[in-house]
């Protein structure tokens, strides 16, 4: 369970990204965070795995106060939280399986890390992760040969390979075409359902959020202005989240 209690976040340049955020997310929920660019969506995600520090308030995950974690403890905690990025963040010159195997690296001893020695079990598990997202046949292909959707699936497989309890996805479909975006969203739904992994994703396309996610959180200027099941949100509430401007949908064609 992820719990935000009166969380404030102020960046070193003085910009306050989060103001008094209170949230509770149960294990296995599928949550979409919507809002304008700069409203604080990314900050919420990045606070959860401590890529950013919380300035005030408390943030606990499964009863552990994230802000107290240091060094090795923090790294061990991050193993449980997978993160997916808009730009995939793969080593494009390595094969898909090598990228997936990097998820095992933090648990290996120094010499295995240095020489890149992976056991047969690790390799098979990596292949299974690739199979879970349906690109087993691309396992030995270099990532720069894959399409955007396939690369995002490799990134998803890499995250699955670290056996996370939570997956944070920062604009995972923003650089994909509409059809691929839908396929990747379906992958998320399936993983959420089959493995009971909590998924939090930032998303620009309101229609995708409403179609695939269970719960929607609307962020506006660092404050949570909507929090409820995706089926109950009304047009006025969406308009309020987006500050009166038109909410972006897939049809806009980014």
């Amino acid at each position: 369970m992820i719990e935000f209690k009166n969380v404030y976040k102020t960046y070193p340049n003085g910009f306050t990204a989060l103001k008094d955020v209170n949230l509770q997310i149960e294990q296995g929920e599928f949550v979409a965070i919507i809002g304008l660019s700069g409203a604080g969506k990314s900050t919420i995600l990045r606070c959860i795995n401590r890529m950013h520090d919380v300035t005030k308030g408390s943030l606990t995950v499964d009863g552990v106060d994230v802000n107290t974690l240091r060094g090795a403890e923090l790294r061990r905690y991050r193993r449980k939280v997978g993160m997916i990025f808009q730009s995939f963040n793969l080593v494009s010159r390595s094969t898909a399986i090598k990228n997936v195997l990097t998820a095992d690296v933090p648990d290996m001893n120094f010499f295995r890390v240095l020489f890149g020695v992976f056991s047969k079990e690790q390799k098979l598990r990596a292949l299974e992760s690739l199979d879970k997202v349906g690109i087993l046949d691309k396992a030995y292909t270099r990532c720069d040969q894959l399409s955007g959707g396939q690369q995002q699936r490799v990134a998803l497989a890499r995250t699955l390979n670290q056996n996370p309890k939570i997956i944070l996805a920062d604009e995972p479909v923003a650089s994909l075409d509409p059809i691929t975006a839908r396929q990747v969203m379906q992958d998320f739904v399936r993983i959420n359902r089959d493995y009971n992994i909590s998924i939090l994703l930032n998303i620009h396309h309101i229609d995708l959020a409403l179609q695939y996610c269970d719960r929607v959180i609307g962020v506006r200027a660092g404050e949570i202005v909507f929090d409820g099941p995706a089926s109950t949100i009304t047009q006025e509430q969406i308009d309020y989240v987006y500050n009166g401007t038109k909410a972006p949908t897939l049809g806009d064609g980014e």
Partner: protein, 283 residues
């Protein structure tokens, strides 16, 4: 240019007329005229001290000799297996280039990291850039002449020369690769719980190896051509024999050396281009 016009429109607070647009047309020809003018001046200045004094007495004979040599190479020399024959000398030239490039590529790694502005503080980086520039400016033949004084003539001297010369260019290419590093990957490794060492091993090194290998192969290409000239000053390889034959006017032998050189260089150039394309774009 377009900005200048926009500014002008703003200051006048109206659209420009056709005549005004014409008056403010971009004058690229000015640049070109200037270039041509500079060129003319430079050429007349430099032409003044370079005199054509006609062919030397033996010039005609040399020219005829070279042509006859190339058309009638010494086949025995060309396909022989002795230590003075073309195949052996070509192999030795290649050996110099292989070792020179390998050592140069290894030596260039510390230089490149020390001279990268995104890793090192600026003053240190610029200091090492000057050092790299110095290595690059001194022609390889001068390096060879200096090393011969230290190590004595022979192929080993050629290897040392090339190791040093290669540092300049290879590290310059490495620096480009290092400064183009994609740091997003480090972010995701960080989110995965990797230590600094693990981030370097799995985030930085896989990105660099392909570029580094590509730079090394490119330099091997150049070193091979360079190694052929090193022999002229006595640093091993095919060059020494070629120059000896030229000076003693044994044209058929010159012909076989030239043919051997051309074939070797063309083959290596072809292979290196293909391998580098494969490294850059995958299979």
């Amino acid at each position: 240019m377009a900005e200048k016009l926009e500014k002008l429109e703003q200051s006048l607070d109206r659209k420009l007329t056709v005549a005004e647009m014409y008056a403010n047309r971009p004058r690229k020809w000015l640049l070109y005229t200037l270039i041509v003018l500079i060129l003319v001046v430079l050429v007349t200045w430099s032409g003044s001290s370079i005199h054509f004094e006609g062919l030397t007495v033996t010039g005609r004979e040399v020219a005829r000799g070279v042509i006859s040599g190339v058309t009638h190479p010494d086949l025995k020399l060309m396909f022989g297996t002795g230590e003075t024959d073309v195949p052996y000398l070509l192999l030795q030239t290649m050996a110099i280039a292989v070792l020179g490039t390998l050592f140069g590529a290894i030596l260039a790694i510390p230089f490149a990291f020390l001279a990268s502005t995104n890793i090192m503080p600026k003053p240190v980086a610029y200091l090492f850039r000057v050092v790299i520039l110095m290595i690059r400016t001194i022609p390889s033949l001068v390096w060879a002449l200096m090393w011969i004084r230290v190590t004595g003539p022979g192929a080993a001297c050629g290897v040392i020369t090339q190791s040093v010369c290669s540092i300049g260019m290879i590290s310059k290419m490495y620096i480009t690769a290092i400064e183009d590093l994609d740091t997003h990957i480090l972010e995701s490794l960080d989110a995965m719980g990797c230590t600094a060492f693990q981030k370097i091993r799995y985030g930085v090194i896989p990105q660099l190896t392909a570029s580094f290998i590509s730079a090394t192969i490119y330099r091997f290409d150049i070193n091979l051509k360079d190694a052929t000239t090193l022999g002229i000053v006595g640093a091993g390889g095919i060059g020494a024999s070629l120059v000896q034959c030229l000076n003693s006017r044994r044209w058929a032998m010159v012909g076989s050396f030239v043919w051997g050189l051309m074939v070797l260089v063309l083959i290596i150039e072809f292979i290196s281009t293909r391998v580098r394309r494969k490294l850059a774009h995958g299979e």
